[in-house]
């Protein structure tokens, strides 16, 4: 009992930290960091537009003109020398199927980096972004957005 009392006494005299300055620093730091904290990270997807002064497709033979068409209820994957594939969007694994189809194309034509994403006027922006995500994940980083003719 006496020992405990002695230890308590020592702690209050020798070990007592003056925490006030540190608290002040924290109290200033926390609001500052909270206001600058980014909880939603905004990133970007770079796209290219088929420019108005449409550059002549110089290497037309080499180009695959791979296109993914987003229709209301299905995706169409087509291109020169590629078997046309239709994927129903109602399927639960439509995204996986599309990724597979694109991955197939990529493995058959490894030097092709371009894909056209053909959308209809009523296509939702989020669907376009989703298809761009899928094509980028499948190894087609350069997507251009095209309107349905």
């Amino acid at each position: 009992m006496r020992k405990v009392g002695r230890r308590d006494y020592r702690r209050t005299t020798e070990g007592e930290l003056d925490l006030l300055p540190m608290m002040n620093v924290f109290i200033v730091l926390i609001p500052m960091l909270l206001t600058s904290a980014v909880f939603l990270k905004v990133t970007v997807i770079d796209t290219k537009v088929p420019s108005a002064a449409a550059a002549e497709p110089a290497n037309e033979e080499a180009s695959l003109s791979l296109a993914v068409t987003i229709k209301d209820d299905y995706f169409v994957v087509e291109g020169d020398g590629i078997a046309k594939q239709v994927i129903a969007r109602a399927d639960a694994d439509a995204d996986t199927q599309l990724a597979l189809a694109l991955a197939n194309v990529v493995s058959n034509h490894p030097d092709n980096r371009d894909v056209m994403i053909i959308s209809e006027p009523k296509t939702h922006y989020k669907d376009i972004i989703a298809v761009m995500d899928i094509s980028r994940a499948s190894g087609l980083p350069s997507a251009s957005l095209v309107g349905a003719p």
Binding site: D8, T43, V44, P121, K126
Partner: protein, 162 residues
């Protein structure tokens, strides 16, 4: 002596136990420091726009911002055109937006000239589109941008990776 005894007696109830509080604060500070962004440009979404989610993790760069949501097309926070009117007119070019883009380009060229900078006009624009907008308006905005010389178009999204 009596005073001393009183102080000693009060001590246990009087001193705050700050250790746990300090632990919390330390963890908070570390967490906030971790989320502190130094590299790249931090762009915050225009209020009212709910950006789509994407796995992209390209850092945004500073540029002029076109926001498309509800029925308005905004350039740098100023409403310049209406979505429904732009879409219903058959023209791909949104004339008021093109005017503002040209004005913005001339302004930035003027500023560059006054500063004596010789940097090229980069033609960067980022489009913050609400996830529910239609391709028709996006196509018109992108077309207008490219006609006005803004050819590096980036679509702002919410990064879900990392």
């Amino acid at each position: 002596m009596r005073h001393h005894a009183k102080r000693n007696r009060l001590k246990p109830s009087n001193s705050l136990i700050l250790t746990s509080l300090m632990d919390i604060l330390t963890v908070l500070v570390l967490f906030l420091l971790k989320s502190f962004v130094i590299e790249g440009e931090v762009i915050s979404p225009v209020p009212g726009v709910s950006l789509p989610e994407s796995s992209s993790n390209t850092a945004p760069q500073s540029s002029i911002v076109i926001a498309i949501f509800n029925d308005s097309v905004m350039l740098n926070g100023e409403v310049v055109a209406s979505v429904s009117r732009s879409v219903s007119s058959g023209d791909l070019l949104i004339a008021p937006l093109a005017d503002k883009l040209d004005a913005a380009r001339e302004q930035s060229a003027e500023i560059a000239r006054l500063r004596g900078a010789t940097e090229e006009f980069k033609g960067k624009v980022s489009i913050q589109g609400d996830r529910e907008i239609d391709f028709a308006i996006l196509q018109r905005v992108m077309y207008t941008c490219s006609v006005s010389g803004y050819e590096q178009i980036s679509l702002a999204v919410i990064g879900t990776s990392s």
